[in-house]
């Protein structure tokens, strides 16, 4: 930097350059030099999957920017007004002020439609980004100590993002979103004992009443984003504090982090990436219409259209409610609405299942060390299989949530799809688990093969006596190291239950379960032993060609 050069050269009487003086002023009050010393040249490792979290962060910023703009024009009121804007087909229609002002934004504010569409598209991408980012963290084991708390922060961001999205797309009070709100009311009503009270407090009386848009509005623009902003800052502080994880490779250990410095490379790459994400979302919003409320019309509780779908991230809850049999139990003048209440309870369970996973795994392994080197998914078959089983479960529910669209687009029977989902809800995750585990083990075998016998070169050689052999090229030292760098656990064993004096040791049921789980993670059937140095030497010492 030129300032340093200048400061060396100039005499002490000369004034420091302006930038330095500003920095001095700020340092005297904020201590920025110490902060910059720790972070300005902070190292970030390079991998495409590390960008997924950035996509989330940037789309969140885009959502906040565009959201603030939308609040300048949106009226969160359910007062009925007649439409007199520039969209002819709805002239004279009765609608809430919320719908009316959304129409105004879409048709009479120049660029308003674009900002609305960027806001909505960015929200969809935000949720999709978090979903994929979480998958990345899950399958590479980046959630292990010391990052379990950050996994929970991220999980909360995902769940809050879902509800912020839901309250957001309900605000225009259009026919589609109103149907979604009605669904929510029906779900709340199903809660035993207090359901009707919750519903009346939520809607200020009977559905739909005249309050929910204003209430959703403050939840959507203030309460939830406020919490999310705090969580995201905490998430980033922890990322900085923990330093980034990295994949195993030459020169990369559990005690270092190898990559490029924040200034200048990541400043440019990550900063530039914000513009790339924003630019792509803007182009999508220019060419792909989303949530065309004008063609759906204002909400009326006695009207609905076919093919009603929530935004994608709510789709799995839609699947739960659609495929559940309509069980209802009447007793002593009360009704237990299991057909709705059970899905309402499974909904959080689906999510909590991934939230608690890091703690279950660390309990099973009993591992208390810090992990900064990422796992390749194949090297942890049981975890990977759990993850794939969960995704399969989620996808099955998404199919259930869109059963009508599957039926109409693929000319299938809706009854058949519903029954398929009912069965697959239980069966598909198990199948996915088994298949994934086998694939992982196969990939481990291939890695082992590559280490011991080298890479298939594709060259066929004919030996003098006529035999054909394929030439294998030995791997580089870097590749050998990378393929063998992962740790392999041995299952936790309960050990002898009778000690040398013949005294029986009591073993708790939970510990037995733990040993069992540990075996399913690290037993013989769950990992292929890494090639040892002896095996390698024996094979490469000459007679190893097969």
């Amino acid at each position: 930097m030129s300032t340093t050069k200048n400061s060396d050269a100039r005499s002490s009487r000369e004034k420091a350059p302006a930038g330095e003086r500003v920095a001095d002023w700020a340092d005297g009050r904020l201590g920025i030099y110490s902060l910059a010393k720790a972070n300005m040249r902070k190292i970030f490792p390079d991998h495409w999957s590390f960008m997924l979290g950035e996509v989330c962060m940037y789309s969140f910023i885009i959502i906040i920017l565009t959201g603030v703009y939308l609040t300048l024009f949106f009226h969160p009121s359910m007062n009925e007004v007649e439409y007199h804007g520039s969209y002819i087909p709805l002239q004279g229609q009765l609608m809430s002020e919320a719908f009316n002002s959304t129409m105004h934004i879409s048709f009479d504010v120049r660029g308003g439609l674009l900002i609305r569409q960027i806001h909505h598209w960015a929200a969809l991408i935000f949720l999709a980004g978090m979903f994929v980012h979480m998958m990345r963290v899950f399958f590479t084991g980046a959630f292990r100590k010391p990052r379990e708390v950050n996994w929970l922060f991220g999980f909360l961001l995902f769940v809050l993002g879902m509800f912020t999205g839901f309250t957001g797309y309900s605000l225009p009070d259009d026919l589609l979103s109103g149907t979604g709100v009605r669904f929510m009311e029906g779900a709340v009503l199903s809660v035993p004992v207090v359901g009707t009270y919750l519903s009346f407090f939520l809607f200020g009386g009977e559905f739909p009443g005249g309050d929910f848009v204003a209430r959703f509005y403050s939840v959507h623009v203030l309460l939830l984003p406020g919490i999310m902003l705090g969580l995201m800052v905490a998430h980033l502080i922890l990322v900085f504090y923990h330093k980034h994880t990295q994949f195993a490779g030459p020169g990369k250990t559990n005690n270092n982090v190898v990559g490029m410095p924040l200034l200048p490379v990541y400043m440019a790459k990550a900063g530039g990436f914000f513009f790339l994400v924003f630019g792509v979302i803007a182009v999508i919003s220019a060419i792909a219409t989303i949530n065309p409320i004008w063609s759906m019309g204002p909400y009326r509780p006695d009207q609905v259209s076919t093919g009603a779908q929530p935004d994608w991230y709510m789709g799995f809850s839609e699947g739960l409610i659609r495929v559940m049999p309509g069980w209802e139990i009447n007793f002593w003048g009360h009704t237990l609405v299991l057909g709705v209440f059970i899905p309402l309870m499974i909904f959080p369970l689906v999510l909590v299942a991934i939230a608690v996973y890091p703690f279950i795994e660390s309990w099973v392994t009993g591992d208390k060390r810090e992990h900064h080197i990422l796992d390749r998914p194949r090297n942890v078959p049981t975890r990977t299989a759990f993850g794939v089983a969960w995704i399969t479960w989620y996808m099955v529910l998404l199919i259930g949530g869109g059963n009508d669209l599957w039926a109409t687009h693929f000319h299938l029977s809706i009854n058949a799809i519903t029954w398929f989902v009912r069965i697959a809800f239980f069966v598909a995750p198990v199948l996915a688990f088994i298949v994934t585990k086998r694939i992982c083990l196969g990939l481990q075998r291939r890695d082992k093969d590559k280490v011991l016998h080298g890479r298939e070169s594709g060259i066929i050689k004919r030996l003098p006596h006529g035999e054909f052999i394929e030439v294998h090229e030995p791997l580089s030292q870097e590749a050998l190291h990378t393929l063998t760098a992962h740790e392999q656990y041995e299952p936790a064993m309960i050990g002898a239950t009778v000690d040398e004096n013949g005294v029986e040791r009591k073993v708790k049921g939970t510990e037995k379960l733990r040993a069992k789980l540990s075996k399913s993670y690290y037993g013989e059937d769950s990992q292929i032993p890494k090639p040892t140095a002896e095996e390698y030497k024996e094979i490469t010492s000459g007679h190893g060609h097969h």
Partner: protein, 352 residues
């Protein structure tokens, strides 16, 4: 988590040293870490011509971004907000939205692309190594913190003066109740509101589309008619809330085809009136199959058989649609003979 029953040495933390065959750099280990590979120069590092080309490419992108921003401003001013254009292969789009989005998108994207290209081609790409620090504090720090904490706790006397402590906990635990109380007026109590609709004896069935009272002759076999109670108008303050319960669908079925005895009794010459609000989670049912007299809720596909007491034949709904008992008044108009005999819409705890 306690691990008293599984010996420590059987846990992974202990196995590391025994079984871990990795990481240590020694000549005997063929898989030893060879260390960071040497830095390979890019063409821009060696060839100033190539670096100049990269510089021009980056500058071009930044310049085009400026052009795109100007295009945004020009579009904002020049394009009328109601103009439509045809864009192949997407179809008809709002011209202003298309122009603004495209120019804004390009302006942003080109800044990003320029910055990334700059970083990738012109900034140093030499990998650097940072050592990690321990996340947890060293033991002496921990000891100091614990000692400080004990000192502070002792000075506060929170452990010794139990009365102070316990009453403080009591006060802290109670005061949030005020906040809970304040939520009470979020809404009225349910009472029996979910059990009643606007329908009552003598109310005429008014066609939702024409706003005219219905006569039996208006309802033909195979048609599906939506009706509201007489006196409920769209402009009414409570219209949305009332129609959410009172919406009615009316079909005509040959009396011989009606399988349910009560349904036949409550009908008029085969004209039956059912609640339009699904008993699952409250969507309005709107798909009617003329031949089978099945109605389907488009939201969650609950299917009801209108010729058999509207019982559920498929889908997640838990019980049949409530039927409204109807008749004809002296002037020949269809009228309700009372309110629904059971609550309409989704089930709830007090429904019974």
């Amino acid at each position: 988590m306690s691990s008293q029953d599984i010996p420590e040495k059987n846990l992974p933390a202990a196995q590391e040293t025994e079984h871990g065959a990795v990481g240590v750099a020694d000549e005997q280990n063929p898989f030893a870490d060879p260390g960071l590979p040497p830095h390979e120069h890019r063409v821009q590092d060696i060839d100033e011509q190539a670096a100049k080309r990269s510089e021009r490419a980056v500058a071009l992108m930044f310049t085009l971004s400026m052009v795109a921003t100007v295009a945004f401003i020009v579009s904002y001013v020049a394009i009328p907000h109601d103009k439509a254009i045809y864009v192949f292969p997407i179809g008809h789009l709002n011209a202003l939205n298309f122009a603004l989005g495209l120019s804004l998108g390009l302006a942003l994207f080109l800044i990003g692309a320029g910055a990334v290209h700059w970083a990738r081609t012109l900034m140093s790409d030499e990998e650097l190594v940072d050592e990690r620090h321990a996340i947890s504090a060293p033991p002496e720090v921990k000891a100091k913190v614990l000692a400080d904490f004990r000192q502070g706790a002792k000075e506060s006397a929170i452990g010794r003066r139990k009365l102070v402590r316990n009453t403080m906990f009591g006060a802290l635990a109670l005061f949030p109740l005020s906040g809970v109380m304040l939520l009470r007026d979020l809404g009225p109590l349910p009472g029996t509101k979910l059990r009643h609709t606007l329908w009552s004896k003598g109310k005429l069935l008014v066609n939702m589309n024409t706003n005219e009272p219905l006569r039996p002759s208006d309802v033909v076999v195979g048609s599906l008619t939506f009706a509201k109670p007489e006196g409920l108008e769209e402009h009414d303050h409570e219209f949305q809330t009332e129609i959410a319960k009172a919406a009615l669908m009316i079909v005509r079925i040959q009396p011989d085809d009606i399988k349910d005895k009560r349904e036949l009794e409550w009908s008029h010459e085969g004209i039956v009136a059912y609640s339009k609000i699904c008993t699952h989670v409250g969507c309005p049912i709107s798909l009617y199959e003329q031949q089978t007299h099945h109605v389907l809720c488009p939201c969650h596909q609950s299917t009801f058989d209108l010729s058999d007491g509207a019982r559920v034949i498929f889908g997640p709904a838990g019980h049949a649609l409530p039927q409204l008992r109807i008749g004809v008044n002296d002037e020949g108009y269809l009228e309700a003979l009372g309110d629904f005999s059971e609550p309409v819409g989704p089930s709830f705890w007090e429904r019974g």
